[in-house]
Symmetry: C2
Subunit: 393 residues, 2 copies
């Protein structure tokens, strides 16, 4: 049997979810929508206001009949979730408040494989501290995205960051004094896509991220696909396309040897081309490549067509297995997407009846940190009493 | 707000689920387990007895202290769910009562592609009527398994039964006057595997069925993977293994051209061999093939090794994507499984760290009808008031 306290926190959660999903509304409307009495709703709203999660808003005048009522609305400014991304060549931090607004964003180019994990996590910790001192006040938790598979908070597989296998990421950020969870970067990006924006609420979505590696995140039936050991949804090291090139993971023919960033740069440029200078910022190099493609450079266009075709061949397998409403392309795929979509759709249409189910992510390289920030906020929606009453002060 | 009636039926469902999952128990124990008062539990039990869903059982004497109490237990004999399977070369019917006992089972060898769907469904309807007149009294619903993809009750894809595309299967069984749902055969088999037996309750499982076609059913995070159009989890027509053989679906290199029954029989026997006589019952032909393998016939063993290797190569992709706790092999794969497992595990181990995650189904060719019968029973567990009070008469 539920205790009174459990009933209370479940009702607080229901009221908060109603305001999040349905927008501002009167107490009377909130009572009707949640099936609770008006007296209960008034008490719940008062507590949510005290916890800094809800605010009184505009006065609502419903036509000519009925008394005007004050609207209540989600007020997440006092609370935020922090997403951190550790990737091969950068660290990123992004904080979202409860209403989904970005309160802080920072990014640091870093040669992660050249440093020990403990050093990288110390940098990440400093970035989070800076965020909290800046716009990200009221942090309730941190979720860290890593380019690999995790179990609990420990990295278990990381083909492009092999030195991180066995690292307890939460332990490395313990000095921050906040709850820390850890997830796969593509999984968190997939959650970001279904949490807000054009694909908000889509129950079946596949997210593919192109970076040094190629990652996949799968949402099916409204749930993130995790699998029995937490390593499900990994696409980069499958032989989804014909090919025999050696992969960093030790096998041959992995999909990321065909469609990863390295494959694109090798096809598009000679070794001494500035495009292939790992010391340059990736976004600058991609901007140069895009400029060449827009100028009609034949070699660049051919390289991009090859990537698009390889994406389509592999995506056909994913579409047949997961039957997503949409395959969202993120990371570098989105940056150069205008040149990938046609060959991708052609290859897809030859294999499955789903050529229209492809879209470019609008989140750029922030998808994983956004997803992390959403996940870090979840405990507040599950149990609003986790936010102290003082938070409104 | 929930009405009194909704609360009542939810409490009935909770009590019934408790008895199903936890076994016979006293009313006092049931009250403790559900968090309801003893008075409420007594009233619920009385109603469940009236609906024929629960019975008074043995007297329970808890050690030397406490009063002896009568145990109550699930008594599903009055209600059953019926599973029907339409496959390429047979029809099957199986009825399960609420306690999971088989109340009826029948099977009819039939050249399904040679008949119109309406004729096949008339035969199936007659088989269900026979079942209801026999052991399957108190039928609450029917779930039909088909070897293809369905949307609602209409077949949308059926590579091995192309004449069925567009068929509304429920309409063809409307004369029975029962609710009819329709599902993919491998999906329903996967549900059967997680509903009872050695994999009961496993949240992440992949079921592969080898018949004329090769089907896949995926359970992930405790839910059947359906996808955005209901066609998810299809594996037979993916190019999961190298190969270029023409497939019945019109494409080349599909997995079922490598590991389907046709591939095995072609590799194991010449065209005039009785093994390849489609007029003979499949189980007889498989028994002959198995006998040859056990006698050490080189060609038969080589053919089976080829199937096992092909299964392992493809299963590696499925394991990487779905990360199941177990891949269950059903249909003909289970019949000849003793000769498939070694090459399968070898191929799997070369690709993923999961060679121990393979098991043979113990359900034989009844997996799909069992899964269908489970699905047909679900409404009773969701809302026990769907069973009329007269059912106990």
């Amino acid at each position: 049997m539920q205790s009174q306290g459990q009933v209370r926190s479940a009702n607080l959660a229901a009221a908060l979810a109603c305001l999040r999903d349905g927008g501002p509304r009167s107490r009377a409307r909130l009572a009707a929508d949640t099936g609770l009495t008006k007296a209960t709703v008034s008490s719940l709203v008062a507590e949510l206001v005290e916890r800094g999660l809800v605010a009184e808003g505009a006065v609502h005048r419903p036509g000519s009949v009925g008394r005007p009522g004050t609207l209540v609305e989600l007020d997440g400014r006092g609370v935020c979730g922090i997403g951190v991304e550790v990737n091969v060549d950068y660290l990123a931090v992004l904080a979202l408040d409860l209403g989904g607004a970005v309160r802080w964003e920072s990014r640091l180019a870093l040669d992660v494989p050249g440093l020990r994990p403990v050093e990288v996590l110390a940098r990440a910790s400093a970035m989070v501290a800076e965020a909290r001192a800046g716009g990200a006040a009221g942090a309730v938790g941190i979720t860290v995205a890593v380019p690999g598979g995790v179990q609990g908070s420990v990295v278990r597989t990381a083909p492009n960051l092999p030195g991180w296998v066995g690292t307890d990421v939460a332990a490395g950020l313990a000095d921050l004094g906040l709850p820390v969870t850890v997830g796969n970067d593509a999984d968190l990006s997939a959650l970001a896509e279904v949490s807000a924006g054009p694909h908000a609420g889509v129950p079946d979505l596949v997210y593919l991220t192109g970076e040094v590696g190629v990652g996949g995140g799968v949402v099916t039936g409204g749930q993130l696909l995790r699998g029995s050991t937490g390593l499900g949804g990994e696409v980069g090291h499958l032989a989804l396309t014909p090919g025999d090139a050696p992969c960093g993971c030790g096998r041959r023919g992995c999909w990321e040897t065909v469609v990863g960033l390295g494959a694109l740069l090798r096809a598009a440029a000679d070794p001494d081309d500035p495009l292939r200078d790992p010391g340059r910022d990736l976004e600058d190099r991609l901007a140069d490549l895009l400029a060449r493609a827009r100028d009609g450079d034949a070699r660049t266009l051919e390289a991009l067509t090859g990537i698009g075709t390889g994406l389509g061949v592999g995506a056909a397998v994913l579409v047949a297995l997961f039957d997503p409403a949409v395959v969202v392309l993120g990371g570098y795929f989105a940056v150069v997407g205008e040149f990938l979509l046609d060959p991708l759709r052609t290859a897809l249409a030859q294999r499955v009846d789903a050529a229209d189910r492809v879209a470019l992510s609008t989140l750029g390289f922030t998808a994983a940190v956004r997803g992390g920030a959403h996940v870090a906020l979840q405990p507040v929606f599950t149990d609003p009493t986790t936010v102290p009453l003082e938070a409104s002060a």
